[in-house]
Structure formats: C-alpha cells, structure tokens
Symmetry: C2
Subunit: 129 residues, 2 copies
C-alpha cells in the first residue's frame, strides 16, 4: 500500500476501496462497495465507505457519477468520457468521444465562459449481443 495517492494519505480502508474500484471497473454504488469489500475488511462501516469514496473523489482519484435520482456511482476511469446507461441490462458503460472532438466547441456559450466540468449521460439500448 502506497503512503499516499494524489496527496491523499492512504489508510487500509481507503486503499481497499480504491483497489476494489480499480479492479472491477464497473460503476458500483457506495452500498455495492460496502458489500463487495466485506471479504477484505469485514469490520468496515458503511459510513467509512462513504468517507473513503468522498476523500478519493475530492482528491481526483475517482469520479462520482449520478443518474437521475439514483444512488451515486463511482468510476475509476479518469479519462474524459461519458456514461451510457443500457436499459436492457441496467449496466453502465463508459463512452469516449471521437478523436479531435472538443465538446465546448459544439455549444453556444457566451464568449469568455469558463467551463470547469462537462458531464454527458446517455440512456438507451445497446445492440443485442
């Protein structure tokens, strides 16, 4: 376990939460993480899972993703990407942009607007197998 990641001091709990996200690159909720991590940290509390996820998000190590009013999900992919929600399977997939595309260029915004964050969410159905 490294002493810190991106300036965030590592603890056993933070490290295991981080590793779990990196290993299974889906988009689990805090509760999903809580359930999955019990193997390795049987005594961890849900509050600590929330605390660890928040610390990791605030240090830019993972991203928090929201769909409608559902529970937040957490994503270890730091590349610029959007999220596709497949209605059929209920799964969430990372979606990248075609090369050379700059989202901001495509929007009508007053000149001088400072964009700090863009979020793209799609819903639909992936083609059958």
């Amino acid at each position: 376990m490294p002493a810190e990641i991106s300036g965030l001091r590592m603890t056993r709990q933070r490290w295991e939460v981080y590793r779990l996200l990196m290993e299974q690159r889906d988009h689990p909720t805090a509760n999903d993480v809580f359930i999955r991590i019990k193997d390795r940290l049987p005594n961890i509390s849900l509050a600590t899972v929330y605390n660890c996820l928040e610390a990791l998000v605030q240090h830019g190590v993972i991203r928090q993703v929201n769909f409608e009013r559902e529970s937040s999900r957490f994503c270890p992919n730091l590349e610029e990407h959007g999220h596709f929600h497949d209605k059929r399977s209920g799964t969430i997939h990372d979606v990248t942009f075609k090369p050379g595309v700059n989202l901001a260029d495509v929007l009508n915004l007053p000149p001088g607007t400072l964009i700090t964050d863009i979020e793209i969410t799609l819903r639909g159905e992936l083609p059958v197998s």
Copy 2:
C-alpha cells in the same frame, strides 16, 4: 384552461404548475414551485406539486433536470439543450448546440446502439457582466 395538454388531462393544480413553469423560465425545484404557487393555490400540498410535476414530465410537457445530488429541477424548454450551472451566481442556463451538430455522431458507440436520451451538464463561470 385547456381540457388537456399532450394527452394529460388538466386540473386546476396541473394547469397552475404548468403556467408557473412557462412564465418564469428558470429551473425551479418542486419546493420552489410549491412556494411560488401559493398565491394562486393557497391550499395546494407539496405532494400535489410533486404529482403534477411528475405527470407533466411523463407526458413530455416539461423536463426534469438533475445536478449532482441536489433536488430535481424542472424545465419547460422542450428544445434539445443542455444545462450550464454558473458557480458564481448559482443559476442554471439553457445551452443549445451549434447548428448541424448531432451529439451522437461525436461519440464512440457500438453500431446499432439505440439512444433514447442524451443529457449534457456543464459547470463553470459565466463571464462577468
């Protein structure tokens, strides 16, 4: 008051909620609507505001917009657009796309993917006056 809008039977409450959204074209929360509408419907309940908003959303008359984990907001603009959240003022602004732009063309998706809905959210700061 029309008998219905987009197949949704109008009631006094639905009509006033709808009118309020159309008049003040900001992005109020359910509670904002509840407070503002008390002039016209002093006895309306918050549950009814939620019910009316849900009915209007489900009939495609208004749109529901979510930012992070904040309360849902409601938008009467049915044109395709995204939402810019200005950190300085806390206000939300509709953002249109440049002409001829098709969001789906810009994304890497498996061929045959059916997209039913795209949502774009931006955060940042608008230029000072």
